[in-house]
């Protein structure tokens, strides 16, 4: 019993000491960013998720990048020239040094391309670069990329190609490199406490725009309310993944506020024309007429997002200016359903996953119910959802909700996988449409490409394979002192942020 008393006393003492410790959590020299999860990997070729991307993109330079306006601009490549429909020659920037002091060479660029396109390496990003047939070093600090076929969207893909140091990767091996990455970017990897935080320090020898913060820390804070609490209490300067409700909370709080940008993510309702009942165009048209996208954006999304009538966003190459989708017309929807009769009474399955805003899904269900359809939401986890919406159209759900991002800001990355017969993501099997999609993919003349994509959008509108809903916004929470404007490609470039003074 005496021993127990001693233990309790010690515990109480320890608790009091901790309580009286100085409560200093904010640090002007260090930018603190709350992510949802910690990165899965800091090897840029071995991951595909935002939490990894937010961090490693500060450690590595990419072949190309986008400026704040979304234009493709030089990074490691200073210039490029399309020498033939399938060949592009890039001039590699001189004087760039990796964080270990070694120089970045054209060989490193070629190595990076070969590494990510090697099937045995197992990069999740393989499909983004699979059109590259070869990479070779040319005289005069140049690299030539050859594609299997003409592929204008390649530039949008190369924005995602990080350059890794061949010598370091070879020496360290895949496993060690992912835990202690060496890049050439504006911030250096400093340390990683698993589950807690990743620390970066400024690269003072950076060739480009240097960071204004000497250090940065990325923390994993899975709960959105806790991220808000951290921001409001000054423990963090920037937090990701806010929703419109939390954004309103932030607006009401002192010293902090929401920051948002319209992204290249397009939200849509996919309608599976291969299913009985839905193979009748009139029923699909009824579904399209029943959806009030303006109401969704204004009523549920707080006006942050923007309604679109085509399966694309203005942030994409291939966006058709002035194109209108199927208008909201519930009376017409009811008339079409009455015309279809018995087959329209079937229960329609509507697949969704917890990552999507369920209020949107429920609102869509309500709108469809209002015109007389019978819709049942099927909520499963993301892995199951992805399995359901892939593969044989006859086995897929009748409808599904989606928010598509190709992270390439090119129409090819959206409509080709969602509509081409060869794609497992597509519910559509149409030879004519396939030809248009293929022609657009290989067309080097921008005007002709947009003309092709207009045909694609007309096909979507007329056949209702998808009902485009809105261009999704991304909402962050930030301290009012932070000078930074979010961009459509959802990057967090620390060297483009500073304190406003």
């Amino acid at each position: 019993m005496k021993r127990l008393h001693c233990t309790l006393l010690a515990a109480a003492l320890a608790a009091t000491t901790a309580l009286t410790a100085p409560a200093v959590w904010a640090d002007a020299n260090r930018l603190a960013i709350d992510l949802v999860n910690e990165p899965t990997s800091l090897d840029p070729h071995l991951q595909w998720n935002p939490d990894s991307y937010y961090v490693y993109r500060n450690i590595f330079d990419n072949l190309l990048t986008r400026d704040d306006a979304g234009q493709i601009v030089p990074q490691i490549a200073t210039a490029w020239e399309q020498v033939s429909p399938t060949e592009i020659v890039f001039t590699i920037r001189e004087g760039v040094k990796f964080h270990d002091g070694s120089a970045l060479t054209p060989e490193d660029v070629v190595y990076s391309v070969q590494r990510i396109t090697n099937k045995d390496f197992g990069s999740p990003q393989l499909s983004q670069f699979a059109t590259i047939a070869s990479a070779e070093v040319l005289e005069g600090n140049k690299v030539k990329l050859t594609t299997k076929a003409p592929y204008p969207a390649l530039m949008g893909q190369l924005v995602k190609l990080s350059i890794v140091p061949k010598a370091v990767v070879d020496a360290m091996g895949k496993e060690a490199f992912n835990q202690a990455p060496v890049g050439s970017g504006p911030y250096k990897f400093d340390g990683w406490d698993r589950g807690v935080e990743v620390r970066l320090t400024r690269n003072d020898d950076y060739w480009g725009q240097k960071g204004s913060f000497p250090a940065a820390v990325f923390r994993a804070v899975p709960d959105a309310s806790t991220r808000v609490a951290n921001l409001v209490s000054g423990a963090s300067d920037l937090v990701v993944t806010m929703d419109p409700d939390l954004a309103m909370q932030l607006e009401a709080a002192d010293g902090v506020g929401p920051r948002s940008a319209l992204t290249e993510r397009v939200a849509y309702l996919a309608v599976n024309g291969a299913k009985p009942g839905l193979d009748d165009l009139r029923l699909r048209q009824a579904i399209a007429h029943a959806i009030d996208r303006d109401l969704i954006v204004e009523g549920l999304l707080g006006g942050f997002d923007k309604p679109v009538g085509q399966l694309l966003t203005p942030a994409h190459i291939g966006w058709v200016e002035g194109f209108e989708g199927v208008p909201y017309d519930p009376d017409k929807a009811r008339a079409l359903i009455a015309e279809v009769g018995e087959p329209a009474k079937r229960k329609l399955s509507f697949a969704t996953a917890p990552v999507f805003d369920q209020r949107i899904v429920q609102a869509l269900q309500q709108m469809l119910t209002d015109v007389g359809l019978n819709v049942e939401i099927e909520l499963t986890d993301m892995a199951t959802y992805l399995k359901k919406v892939q593969g044989d159209p006859a086995q897929s759900p009748d409808m599904s909700f989606g928010r598509w991002s190709c992270a390439c800001q090119d129409a090819d990355g959206v409509v080709y996988p969602l509509l081409h017969s060869s794609s497992s993501w597509s519910r559509v099997r149409n030879v004519e449409l396939d030809k248009v999609l293929e022609s657009a993919r290989g067309e080097l003349d921008p005007a002709k490409r947009v003309a092709d994509y207009r045909k694609v959008q007309e096909w979507i509108r007329d056949n209702v394979s998808q009902v485009p809903l809105y261009q999704a916004a991304i909402i962050y929470g930030a301290s009012d002192n932070l000078k930074w404007q979010p961009t459509p490609n959802e990057s967090l470039f620390i060297n483009r942020m500073s304190w406003s003074e």
């Binding site: 071995l46 999740p124 406490d193 807690v196 309310s225 609490a229 892995a383 794609s423 497992s424």
Partner: protein
């Protein structure tokens, strides 16, 4: 005693084997992580390449045989998503879980048991009435709500404690309080019932008749006899606390096993889930065995089979 131990250890080995096989096959029934890892629109060719690189195209029995062969050499494999040995990942999270569990346990036992004893001995005292309300609240308030409330009061309004993370020593306080509420209420309730039970027994009346003061009767006789149910509940509670507190760890961004398990399940990172479940099963079995051994130490009337 030794025959009892050997039999229990054999039972434990069979249970662990069963858990391993069950979790292995159940997880694979839910699909694989490949679709979660690739970008939207990835070609079937690229998806197949990754699937084959990760070995998910092989027959499940062959995958199981490989896994068991590794396990026999204490090799828990590699995280599919993170490309790091599972032992490193689980090993980095375990100290946090232990730290939080111990802090919560000290709070729960330190407050819960004395409160329970007091509520039994002084049933009509106002503190006992408030205590009963507290027990009810502790058992019924969901932790995601009490957690957010604690953060709001102590981190946002008062600014005394960090809302999340594990970097400072003070970081453990809020999650420990939040996590201990339920156990505290459980201990208080169990201790109260146990002591009430003992107080009605003839030996207490005899001791009082002999002239012993109440406090002495409680501390010398009642507590010792009433300890049995508290010990068995404590074993269960420790096992619960050690297997990770999913909600508390998520709300407070505490990097323990609970959060890791949730993330790994969502990401279909099978080897990690497997290791965590195995660890949880091991801790449960071990603690139950310890509790059984402790019974006989506390209560000489309980003799383990095979013992003399």
């Amino acid at each position: 005693m030794s025959a009892f131990l050997i039999r229990r250890l054999l039972q434990a080995a069979v249970s662990l084997l069963g858990v391993t096989a069950m979790i292995f096959f159940l997880q694979r029934l839910t699909g694989d992580p490949v679709l979660l890892m690739v970008p939207e629109g990835a070609t079937q060719e690229a998806i197949d390449a990754l699937r084959s690189q990760l070995g998910f195209d092989r027959p499940v029995m062959a995958q199981f045989a490989d896994y068991m062969a590794g396990l026999a050499q204490l090799d828990f494999g590699q995280s599919i998503v993170q490309n790091v040995p599972v032992v490193d990942i689980v090993g980095s999270r375990l100290p946090f879980t232990i730290r939080l569990a111990m802090a919560a346990l000290v709070l729960a036992l330190g407050v819960g048991v004395p409160l329970g004893v007091f509520m039994a001995v002084r049933r009509d005292h106002p503190v006992s009435r408030i205590g009963m309300g507290f027990v009810l609240a502790g058992q019924s308030l969901p932790t995601f709500w009490s957690g957010i409330l604690l953060i709001l009061v102590f981190a946002v309004w008062l600014g005394w404690l960090p809302a999340s993370g594990a970097r400072q020593a003070a970081s453990v306080i809020l999650p420990a309080i939040c996590l201990s509420l339920l156990s505290m209420a459980t201990f208080a309730r169990v201790a109260r019932t146990a002591v009430l039970d003992e107080l009605s027994k003839p030996y207490v009346r005899a001791a009082r008749a002999k002239g012993l003061p109440m406090a002495r009767v409680v501390t010398r006789h009642v507590l010792r006899n009433g300890a049995i149910p508290v010990i068995s509940i404590a074993a269960l509670e420790i096992a619960n606390l050690l297997s990770g507190a999913v909600i508390v760890e998520t709300v407070f961004a505490w990097p323990g096993l609970g959060q890791l398990t949730m993330q790994s399940i969502a990401a279909r990172d099978f080897p990690i889930v497997q290791a965590v479940v195995l660890l949880g099963a091991f801790v449960s079995i071990f603690l139950n065995l310890t509790a059984d051994l402790l019974y006989s130490a506390v209560d000489p009337r309980i003799r383990l089979e095979g013992g003399k």
